[in-house]
């Protein structure tokens, strides 16, 4: 039996990805692949490659302000291709208007600001993952 579900972490800051991965894995458990990407473009590539491997990305945690494609655009694209994917945005700085737009667009399941509240993030992640298991 091999892990067939993945959680994708996207941030242009490596230390964020590593810290986030360590924390999430400790909280949510080892039964997922914790894939990383340093840009949205890379994130899309990873999703494609995992699909090819038969691994389904079920949760994407993304930064907002990144080089190239920003988080909002990235998550919108992800949702277009994989509507069932849960999305979380973790950002250190986002424009209020952009956030409102994003929240009302329906592409975002959760927004958290950096530094994030660990227990809340874990709780929300578990909730979202439970939703996926239920379907």
């Amino acid at each position: 039996m091999s892990i067939d579900k993945a959680i994708l972490l996207v941030d242009d800051e490596a230390i964020i990805i590593f810290a986030l991965r360590q924390e999430l894995r400790a909280e949510i458990g080892p039964n997922y692949r914790y894939e990383i990407a340093l840009s949205a473009a890379e994130g899309l590539e990873v999703i494609d490659e995992l699909s090819a491997e038969g691994v389904r990305v079920i949760l994407v945690v993304s930064d907002w302000l990144m080089p190239g494609m920003r988080g909002d655009e990235f998550l919108t694209k992800v949702r277009e291709m994989h509507p069932e994917v849960k999305t979380i945005m973790v950002s250190g700085q986002i424009d209020e208007d952009q956030l409102k737009k994003l929240n009302s667009s329906g592409v975002l399941d959760l927004f958290m600001s950096k530094p994030w509240n660990s227990s809340r993030l874990a709780k929300e992640c578990r909730r979202l993952l439970a939703e996926i298991s239920a379907t």
């Binding site: 810290a19 894995r25 250190g92």
Partner: protein, 685 residues
């Protein structure tokens, strides 16, 4: 009849004749010639002589003129030629003394002898009686009673008669003179009247007593529409006109009553027909027909007055206009002043607006800066928070648990863990080398190796190794992981390597945060001290880029080419805003991908700092406007449109300027600034 009675009778007769002549004769008519002729006749008749002649002598003239000769024998009057007096000087001498000369015989009398041949003989004159007649005590002539019938002895009666007759000549003379005088006076009066009547000016004579008219000329009659002078009788000027000017009637009345002359007295009156006239009047006191009167001459000056009034009105209008214009000018002046005040206020407001704009741009810049700083600080903070939670968890598990697990491991197994940790310490970059592709490959490899080695849950263990960044060590770790000490080994490995990685991440995060703070301090330095100083340029720009770190990772390549020892002179905070602004614009221009070059070089005391970007360039049609305040190409909310305006003003305040060139693919903004005073001495701040 006796001699005496005859003489009485003669005397009576004489008296009657003389009386009759004087009363009824030509004397009363003033006709001198006729009077003289009457007297010669009367003399012949009363004196009983054949001839009587009257001669006149004019003072200062050497000639005696004959006025009349009457020859009673012929009954005719004649006139003799004049005789030079010098011819008969002896005869004349007594005449001059106003003596009566009685000559009984001219041929024998010494006084007349010299004239006998010359005069008497021809005229048959034998005796004569001469009486001079005088006027105003001066001899005017001589009455000659001449007898031709022989010598005669002149008695006192004769002399008396002759004297009376001579006196009558004087009377006649006087009467004639009076008449001449009267006639002259009358003619003069007529001439005067003619002049007065002909005068186009009103001339009147009024009684002092009551002001009524004594006389007036035609002009006045015409003016009052009167036919006859008599219509003025008993009339007063006020019967024909009303004095209009105030106080004038009183003045005229007093002057008239006092007989005081007036000169060029101007007044206005209204005639009965309503016509208004202006007159200039002069008066003189006169006695006229036995009464005290005033003669007045007027000149109508209505036209003149009207002209004067028109002039006055024009003048007043002019004055009014002048005063109106002055007032207008004053008002205009006031307007100008208030406009000026308004302008000054507007300038103050504009200045305030400018300051507000400057402040708002400052705030906008600050806002962007704070957003950047927030992002740059939140990233390491989030990482720090996450790893410190992890460490807390590890510590929470208890060091004794870790120690117990470690005690169950062999030295060899522990040595593996130590080596792995040492590798992390030696090669930090490995820890942060996030290469998703390489990581996935390493995971796959590890998974396969562990699976082959018969490790239980190889995929999870592979994920563990990936998380710890040691997936490449899967093969060497596989023997341990496949053994019974797998859990203890993994536990200690995670505690050791995981903690170590967490510490490294924390360290990196702290360094990152410190760098941001340092850059911020560099950027904000001089905020309270806006004096001009020498500023090392390269560290400034690097510090700025530190704040913009997140942008530089976005596919924008930023290169800096600034000599380390290059210094500029200026106000640090102000210039930082210039750099910030130009870098912001360059990043905005480049968009997702491109290059930004920041180049600085010194040239003859001037430092040129260029920000070149590979953006699409500034369209030619807006190139002239980009420094305009509030001009922006950014969408609403993104920019204030003040950045370049302020940047240029700040550059200029620092003794420099900003210029630019732009074409698609390369836009260069160049800031020129004075070189720092110790540039080139080496070293940097």
């Amino acid at each position: 009849m006796g001699k005496i009675s005859k003489a009485k009778k003669n005397l009576h007769e004489q008296n009657d004749a003389i009386h009759d002549f004087v009363i009824r004769g030509p004397i009363s008519l003033g006709d001198f010639d006729a009077s003289v002729r009457g007297i010669t006749e009367l003399s012949c008749h009363l004196g009983g002589v054949q001839r009587t002649s009257v001669w006149s002598i004019s003072e200062g003239e050497d000639i005696s003129r004959c006025l009349d000769i009457f020859d009673s024998r012929l009954g005719i009057h004649s006139v003799d030629a004049g005789i030079p007096i010098s011819v008969y000087s002896e005869y004349d001498a007594p005449h001059r003394r106003m003596e009566i000369v009685a000559v009984s015989d001219v041929r024998t009398d010494p006084r007349t002898r010299q004239l006998v041949d010359f005069f008497y003989t021809d005229r048959g004159i034998v005796a004569l009686l001469d009486v001079p007649f005088k006027l105003a005590d001066r001899q005017r002539g001589i009455l000659h009673l001449e007898a031709t019938d022989g010598p005669r002895n002149w008695g006192p009666d004769d002399e008396q008669l002759a004297t009376v007759l001579a006196t009558i000549i004087t009377l006649a003379w006087q009467a004639a003179e009076r008449r001449t005088a009267e006639e002259t006076a009358k003619k003069g009066e007529e001439a005067l009247r003619a002049i007065i009547d002909a005068a186009p000016y009103p001339i009147a004579i009024n009684r002092v007593k009551d002001g009524t008219y004594l006389d007036a000329n035609r002009t006045i009659l015409n003016s009052f529409r009167l036919q006859e002078r008599s219509q003025l009788n008993g009339k007063h000027p006020t019967d024909f006109l009303t004095v209009l000017s105030e106080g004038v009637q009183e003045e005229l009345d007093t002057a008239l009553a006092e007989g005081r002359p007036l000169d060029n007295f101007q007044w206005e009156y209204r005639k009965k027909n309503g016509e208004r006239k202006y007159t200039m009047l002069s008066t003189r006191p006169v006695e006229y027909k036995g009464e005290r009167a005033m003669v007045s001459v007027s000149v109508e000056i209505t036209e003149l007055k009207h002209a004067e009034e028109k002039l006055k009105i024009l003048n007043e209008r002019l004055e009014q206009k002048v005063s109106e214009r002055t007032e207008e000018l004053a008002l205009t002046n006031l307007d100008l002043q208030s406009a000026n005040v308004g302008l000054a206020k507007a300038i103050v407001e504009l200045k305030e607006t400018q300051e507000k704009a400057l402040l708002s741009e400052k705030m906008a810049s600050l806002g962007r800066l704070i957003a950047g700083i927030a992002h740059e600080l939140n990233t390491p903070l989030a990482a720090l928070a996450a790893v410190s939670r992890l460490e807390l968890k590890n510590l929470g598990d208890g060091l004794d648990l870790i120690a117990k697990a470690a005690s169950r491991l062999t030295d060899e197994e522990m040595a593996f863990i130590r080596r792995t940790r040492e590798r992390c310490a030696k090669d930090r970059s490995r820890v942060f080398a996030a290469e998703p592709g390489a990581e996935r490959a390493a995971r796959r490899e590890a998974d396969a190796v562990l699976r082959k080695a018969g490790v239980i849950d190889p995929d999870i263990i592979a994920e563990d190794l990936v998380e710890l960044g040691i997936a490449d060590l899967a093969e060497s770790a596989a023997p341990i992981l496949s053994g019974e000490k797998r859990d203890d080994f993994l536990y200690v490995l995670r505690a050791s390597i995981g903690s170590y990685r967490a510490a490294l991440i924390a360290d990196d995060a702290v360094m990152k945060a410190a760098r941001v703070v340092s850059a911020l301090r560099t950027y904000a330095h001089g905020g309270n001290d806006e004096s001009i100083s020498d500023i090392a340029l390269a560290p400034e720009i690097r510090g700025l880029l530190e704040l913009y770190y997140n942008h530089t990772k976005r596919g924008i390549e930023i290169t800096i080419d600034i000599p380390e020892n290059l210094k500029i002179s200026g106000k640090r905070e102000a210039l930082n805003r210039v750099w910030f602004n130009l870098l912001s614009n360059a990043i905005h221009a480049v968009g997702e991908k491109g290059r930004i070059e920041i180049i600085a070089a010194e040239d003859e005391g001037v430092v040129r700092v260029s920000f070149a970007d590979s953006g699409s360039g500034i369209p030619a049609d807006i190139q002239g406007r980009i420094f305009e305040p509030f001009f922006t190409t950014k969408s609403a909310g993104e920019g204030t449109g003040l950045g370049l305006d302020i940047a240029r003003r700040l550059a200029r305040e620092n003794g420099g300027n900003i210029t630019f060139t732009s074409r698609p693919g390369r836009t260069v903004f160049t800031v020129t600034l004075p070189r720092g005073s110790d540039t080139g001495t080496g070293g940097n701040a």
